[in-house]
């Protein structure tokens, strides 16, 4: 059974909806900059969504942001756009979401009271700590009454949410599902990645030989997935088709990717097989491309193993959005659909020199008028988790 994508929604540092994101991608306007909202001592660049929590709440018609994590507000905004874009009736639709640190944006502040051993502690912010909190609140907010799940597999989380939704639709367990993921920028993750020494103190340069690390970002990206029968019956319009996917494990190291990119290689190979296409059929690869020395080298090797010398157009959009962790797979799935819709490839900003060992050169300018038949979107994470999606013209 075909699984079709009938709606997309996104919020990131480069825009609060699909059209704003497209505008920035077209015009090479990166979202990286000084941190404005997160209270941190670090002077690192990051890709914050340029809205306060109250502005986010107002944008989706909530009277106040009180009691909501930023994670939940970002997810509500993007999921609402996806649902409205598709025109589905939400009633029986399921909701599969993903994130890496739940409502940590509130917990880490409340934790300061616990650490200080204060006599009176306001524990209420911890009620939004669980990863599932945002999933439940978005489902209730949008009236998505079907199956629910929350996935947390580090940086591949939301691509995996899309996989589960697709499998359930293929197997007739659901007709329509909203799937994707979210993460808000937190001190916890900023300090975590900083302690790993993989944050670039300058705007990141994915796939460049002189890359120094990643910039963290935040945002959410969701797609509406539907069975062909369901879409036809309600007279909806398919934006794209999810034609293949795979999840594998690198089984090399808790945080580092193997030099030969085994996990990514297996994920891409199996996703292509599932889509019943060959590497030559791929028009564009939206690579994971975080900008760390390790990821880009490893992913390059995996690409060379798949495509050999016939590397398709590819780019990392993380130079625009930063690495949005649990949201990355969802945001990039939305960008993949936008590439198909617009017949375009988004630029890999700030690339100058190819990685010496691989020589791979990404697309550096916005390119229009391309026939995009199949997009391969990679998401690779801690714990060796490797996911590839094939998004195709419907």
């Amino acid at each position: 059974m075909k699984v079709l994508i009938s709606g997309i929604g996104v919020i990131s540092a480069i825009g609060s909806d699909v059209s704003e994101n497209l505008h920035s991608l077209k015009n090479g306007e990166s979202g990286v900059g000084a941190i404005r909202f997160l209270k941190t001592n670090h002077k690192l660049p990051a890709c914050e969504v340029k809205m306060t929590n109250e502005e986010l709440a107002a944008a989706i018609g909530l009277s106040s942001a009180e009691g909501y994590s930023r994670t939940t507000l970002l997810a509500m905004k993007a999921a609402k756009e996806a649902v409205e874009n598709s025109g589905i009736a939400t009633g029986s639709a399921g909701f599969i979401s993903a994130n890496t640190v739940g409502g940590m944006d509130r917990s880490e502040l409340a934790y300061e009271q616990v650490a200080a051993d204060q006599e009176q502690i306001d524990f209420s912010p911890f009620t939004t700590h669980e990863c599932a909190d945002s999933t439940r609140k978005v489902a209730a907010f949008l009236g998505l009454k079907g199956y629910q799940a929350t996935i947390s597999t580090a940086c591949s989380s939301s691509a995996n949410a899309i996989i589960l939704a697709a499998k359930m639709i293929e197997q007739g367990m659901a007709d329509v599902m909203v799937a994707g993921g979210v993460d808000a920028l937190t001190k916890f993750t900023l300090n975590g990645f900083n302690s790993l020494m993989i944050l670039d103190s300058e705007p990141c340069r994915p796939f460049d030989d002189t890359r120094k690390g990643l910039n963290l970002g935040e945002g959410a990206g969701f797609v509406v997935l539907e069975s062909e029968a369901h879409l036809r019956k309600r007279g909806g319009k398919a934006l794209a088709q999810l034609s293949g996917f795979a999840n594998t494990n690198d089984a090399f190291h808790q945080t580092a990717s193997s030099p030969e990119g085994e996990g990514a290689f297996l994920a891409m190979t199996q996703a292509l097989k599932r889509a019943n296409i060959t590497p030559e059929d791929i028009s564009y690869v939206n690579v994971h491309g975080t900008g760390t020395s390790n990821n880009d080298a490893s992913e390059s090797q995996a690409m060379l193993r798949i495509f050999d010398q016939n590397i398709p157009l590819f780019s990392s959009t993380k130079a625009f959005t930063g690495h949005t962790l649990g949201a990355a797979g969802g945001i990039e799935a939305v960008y993949s659909v936008m590439a198909i819709q617009g017949g375009c490839v988004f630029p890999n900003l700030r690339f100058k020199e190819a990685i010496a060992e691989s020589g791979l050169v990404p697309q550096t300018e916005f390119k229009e008028g391309v026939e995009i038949q199949h997009v391969l979107s990679n998401s690779l994470g801690f714990g060796g988790n490797s996911t590839s999606l094939v998004i195709s013209k419907a």
Partner: protein, 317 residues
């Protein structure tokens, strides 16, 4: 869908890792029983591991050993809270040192999919590896995913498990929020090696399960149980024991109803502990906790405020 259980292991307040029989949880404590992890994890590796990792990875490895399985085709884990100990450790130093001089180890290990990732690393597994974090229904998410995996790979062996840890801080927070009045919090891990087809190792079966989300009431939960019994072609009379994790009063003609949380404690993936307990009841290894003998079929019911409800039927095969 019916799942055959080919091996299992777990840690709980009522069971230590690798122990055959259940014992009464120690008075006043709802921490999982101290266990010997050296049987499967060498001390050099376990030194860095937090409690959740030890409980989860330890249980997974023993479960696979019991199933005589070296390489499961998929690893699907669930946790409501994730690696709290490492999360707290990192947060604590971050607050104390005002964001300086941080060691990344605790951060690395704090990721929710660390248990699944470490199982893959330990056993060199390059296959499907998912982690569900959907609160009180994280383990049910795992079963649904296992079902989708078996649908595509009918001969597969899938490792599923739930784990959550209780730490002094999480206990302080949970008590501060009054999350489970009149109940004790708990922790534990329960891992199960499953197949969709009966193998020579199969000794019990999850005959069926149901899960629904959103607000539930007495009527909808009872309807869900009737639907499950219909799915499995079983009658109410055929239930011998109900392991109940719900306030809803459930009475079946021949069943003894037991609140499983008095043994597992309250935690998001407690239903994986209830499944361990169901196994022990069916295998006659739970006499310290439950008098009933000759049990053929156990119904497990889990409800959680307005989040949803699930039920599972477990029997001999």
């Amino acid at each position: 869908m019916k799942f055959y259980i080919n091996g299992s292991a777990g840690v709980s307040p009522f069971l230590g890792l690798g122990e055959e029989a259940c014992s009464i949880p120690e008075e006043g404590s709802r921490f999982a029983r101290e266990s010997d992890y050296k049987q499967v994890i060498n001390p050099r590796q376990s030194r860095r591991m937090g409690k959740l990792l030890k409980m989860g990875v330890g249980s997974a490895l023993v479960a696979l050993k019991n199933a005589g399985l070296e390489k499961p085709d998929a690893v699907i884990t669930g946790t409501g809270y994730g690696c709290l100990q490492d999360t707290e450790k990192f947060l604590g130093v971050m607050v104390e040192n005002e964001e300086t001089l941080l060691n990344p180890t605790a951060f690395i290990l704090s990721t929710h999919n660390t248990v699944g990732g470490q199982i893959a690393l330990f056993m060199g597994l390059t296959g499907y590896n998912f982690t569900y974090v959907h609160g009180a229904f994280s383990f049910e998410n795992c079963l649904v995913d296992a079902q989708t995996f078996f649908h595509e790979n009918p001969k597969a062996q899938v490792l599923v498990g739930g784990s959550d840890e209780l730490t002094p801080t999480s206990l302080q927070v949970l008590e501060g929020l009054d999350c489970a009045p009149d109940q004790q919090f708990g922790e534990g891990a329960g891992f199960f090696s499953l197949s969709a087809e009966k193998t020579e190792k199969s000794y019990l079966a999850i005959e069926g399960y149901r899960v629904k989300f959103g607000t539930t009431n007495d009527e909808s939960v009872k309807q869900m149980i009737s639907d499950l019994l219909a799915d499995c072609d079983k009658k109410e009379e055929e239930i011998d024991v109900v392991l109940s994790g719900t306030d809803i009063e459930l009475a079946f003609p021949n069943a003894e109803t037991i609140d499983f949380k008095q043994y597992t404690g309250v935690y998001p993936t407690a239903i994986s502990g209830a499944l361990l307990l169901a196994e022990k009841v069916l295998l006659g290894k739970a006499s310290a906790l439950i008098d009933k003998k000759g049990v053929e079929r156990v119904l497990i019911v889990n409800t959680h405020s307005d989040e949803g409800a699930s039920c599972m039927l477990v029997g001999k095969c």
